[in-house]
Symmetry: C2
Subunit: 189 residues, 2 copies
């Protein structure tokens, strides 16, 4: 699932009014400390730009000679790209993969609050189901002390899913008590 970088790139384009260049994306992601909660690398940004362009989700509109340093290629978000953004966003918020889920949360206010809660509850359900699956597998594998220690490994993942689930639960609670301001809400007075 390589869609994290694509979601991030498209999200930055929206935040920047639909028009930017690679380095600005880079700076924005750095400002957001994205390296701490994903494994995206700088090089991938430019690849994503090219790939998204090839797919008609971005359009290269100019090569600006920047005052400082080399010229930059300016891209523009297309309608197709907008659509892709929302597809990826919904996917991300439905996932229980750390990076995916994180990237989704970063842009969650682009959806309606109710929709976000709905998707997160789906993610939670899936995480729990997966956890039960792992726990259910445990009796079918060999002893904990026998290599390759599948039982131990299943527990490692189970614990990880558990941690994700409680974080998500907490986030849903905060969303439901209105701790986050969404565009379509009235501010509390």
């Amino acid at each position: 699932m390589a869609s994290v970088i694509r979601l991030l790139v498209l999200g930055v384009f929206r935040k920047h009014g639909g028009t930017t260049h690679g380095y600005a994306v880079h700076r924005q992601l750095a400002e957001w400390k994205v390296e701490t909660w994903t494994s995206v690398k700088v090089g991938s940004i430019y690849h994503a730009l090219k790939q998204l362009t090839k797919e008609g989700k971005l359009r290269a509109i100019a090569t600006e000679e920047s005052p400082e340093g080399p010229g930059r290629t300016i891209y523009e978000l297309t309608e197709n790209g907008e659509a892709e953004f929302f597809v990826l966003l919904e996917q991300a918020l439905s996932s229980f993969d750390l990076e995916q889920l994180g990237a989704g949360v970063a842009f969650m206010e682009e959806l309606r609050l109710e929709r976000v809660v709905e998707l997160l509850k789906g993610s939670l359900k899936r995480a729990r189901k997966n956890r039960e699956l792992l726990d259910g597998l445990a009796p079918t594998v060999a002893n904990r002390s026998d290599p390759p220690h599948t039982k131990d490994l299943l527990e490692l993942w189970s614990g990880h899913l558990s941690a994700t689930a409680s974080w998500t639960t907490d986030l849903i609670r905060r969303l439901e008590v209105g701790e986050y301001q969404f565009r379509d809400e009235n501010p509390p007075n």
Copy 2:
């Protein structure tokens, strides 16, 4: 870090006496339920075999016409490959990445018990340090309720590291009370 698949492949070779073919590796990994605790895919096995061969860590010794189905290429583990296995194994047991750590644990009895405990303690220390780093970053980022919600995302990772750390702590405890049988130990009587 793509080394998980390489460690797994080399590990299967050792378990199979240093000589096997791709499909056997595939079956072994399936038997170990590796898909549940890593994201390795079948296709990657064959790539790893070729790459390791190019690097002199495996040697293609024959193309056997198998009784059922197509012919299989038999590979043999070289001395170079043995060395690589131990490098990757130590790396994996020092990591706090889920897949990496898991793959390391799967083959941990190839090292001495004391060494495994030492490496796991290192991993634990690194995980804790990383967690502190994330927690230390929290005050420097914007409000939890401001996009991209970096604070929330840092907490997600912090929780994840926490879960990994307690699993590792538990494993170390079990290792230290002798719940796992290592080759160089005397069986308890």
